[in-house]
Every structure is written in structure tokens, then in C-alpha cells.
Point group: C2
Chain length 102, copies 2
């Protein structure tokens, strides 16, 4: 499974499609982003992908972690987001944007 | 349960402590951020909190969603991250920064 690399210029709809497509094939997906702009695009794309997959009865959750990556010889810290199967409750919470404290 | 509001100037360690403290009390927590800088700080803090809670045998996962919020009369779209109990596997994946595709 390839890691989906996201930059600050990535289109969220395209990344969301890649996440959903990878998840449909593998029942998991990995997204990686370096820097605030890229992390923001990655999260927005992940929320959109969550909506797509929820409609198909596939609830997902996110497990982010730090990973050290080598960029042209410099070590940078990336955020890697592992996308995994979630519970139905999580899915329902997200589809309409509501939450249990709303 | 209060929503933990994060700005681009929030210190990640402080936010991580707030997330972990709220989660210990409620078995869930909610974080909200508007804008790329704030979302990045929120995710970094969430990863740090995940490490704290994993050490206590409390694996967590993240369910982000979009929410419309009113800021001085203007409607803005925030990212709200719901923090929920996860599986032990998720916890172990995150603690050392590795992932199943590494």
C-alpha cells in the first residue's frame, strides 16, 4: 500500500478520492504531510473521505503519529495519519458534522 | 465536557495536557481548530496526548469533522476532532511512530 503524500497545494477532493480508493482496496490507508498547510489539507481531505466511506457503510477513524522523514538529506518530522476501520457510532457522529457534546 | 479550542499560537504541550486530562475524566475529548496553523497545532497536541494515554493503557483514535461556527457574526468552518477509545493495536502503532506500512 502506498503512502498518500499531501502538500499544502494538494487539492482536498483529489486527496479524498485517493484515500477512499486506497481504503476500499486495503481496508486501511496512510496519509503523510509535512508542515501546517499540508497537515490542514490532509485533515480536510480525510474528513471528506470519511463522508464518502460512511455512505458506503464503512466507518473510519484516524490514528496520527509523528514520523521522521528524510527530505534531500535533512530530517523533517512528518505527521502520518493511519486510517483504520471505525465503529458505526464514529461514522454517524461525523456524517452530519455533529458531535456528542453539541 | 468543554471543547478544547486550539489556536495557531497554542502550545502543543499545554493542549496535549488538556486533551489527556479531559480524556481521563470523560473517556472522550473534543478539540476544535480554525485555520491551517491551528489545525496543525491541534494534531500535534493530539499525537502527544495519544502517547501520554497509551502509556496508561488508554489507546485513543481520532474522528475529525467539519463544524460551522460563528466568529463575531461570520460563519467559519472549523475542524472538530473527537477523541475516542481505540484498540490496543492502534495505540501500539502510534507509540513508536511506526506504522503497518513502514
Amino acid at each position: 500500500m502506498n503512502i498518500i503524500k499531501v502538500s499544502s497545494r494538494s487539492r482536498t477532493a483529489a486527496v479524498a478520492g485517493a484515500i477512499a480508493g486506497t481504503y476500499r482496496e486495503n481496508n486501511c490507508a496512510e496519509v503523510q504531510a509535512i508542515g501546517a498547510g499540508a497537515v490542514n489539507q490532509a485533515i480536510k481531505a480525510a474528513v471528506i473521505a470519511k463522508g464518502y466511506l460512511a455512505e458506503e457503510g464503512k466507518p473510519i477513524v484516524f490514528v496520527p503519529s509523528f514520523v521522521a522523514v528524510d527530505i534531500d538529506g535533512d530530517e523533517r518530522t512528518a505527521i502520518r495519519i493511519s486510517i483504520e476501520p471505525g465503529s458505526l457510532q464514529s461514522s454517524l457522529l461525523g456524517v452530519d458534522g455533529s458531535s456528542r457534546v453539541a
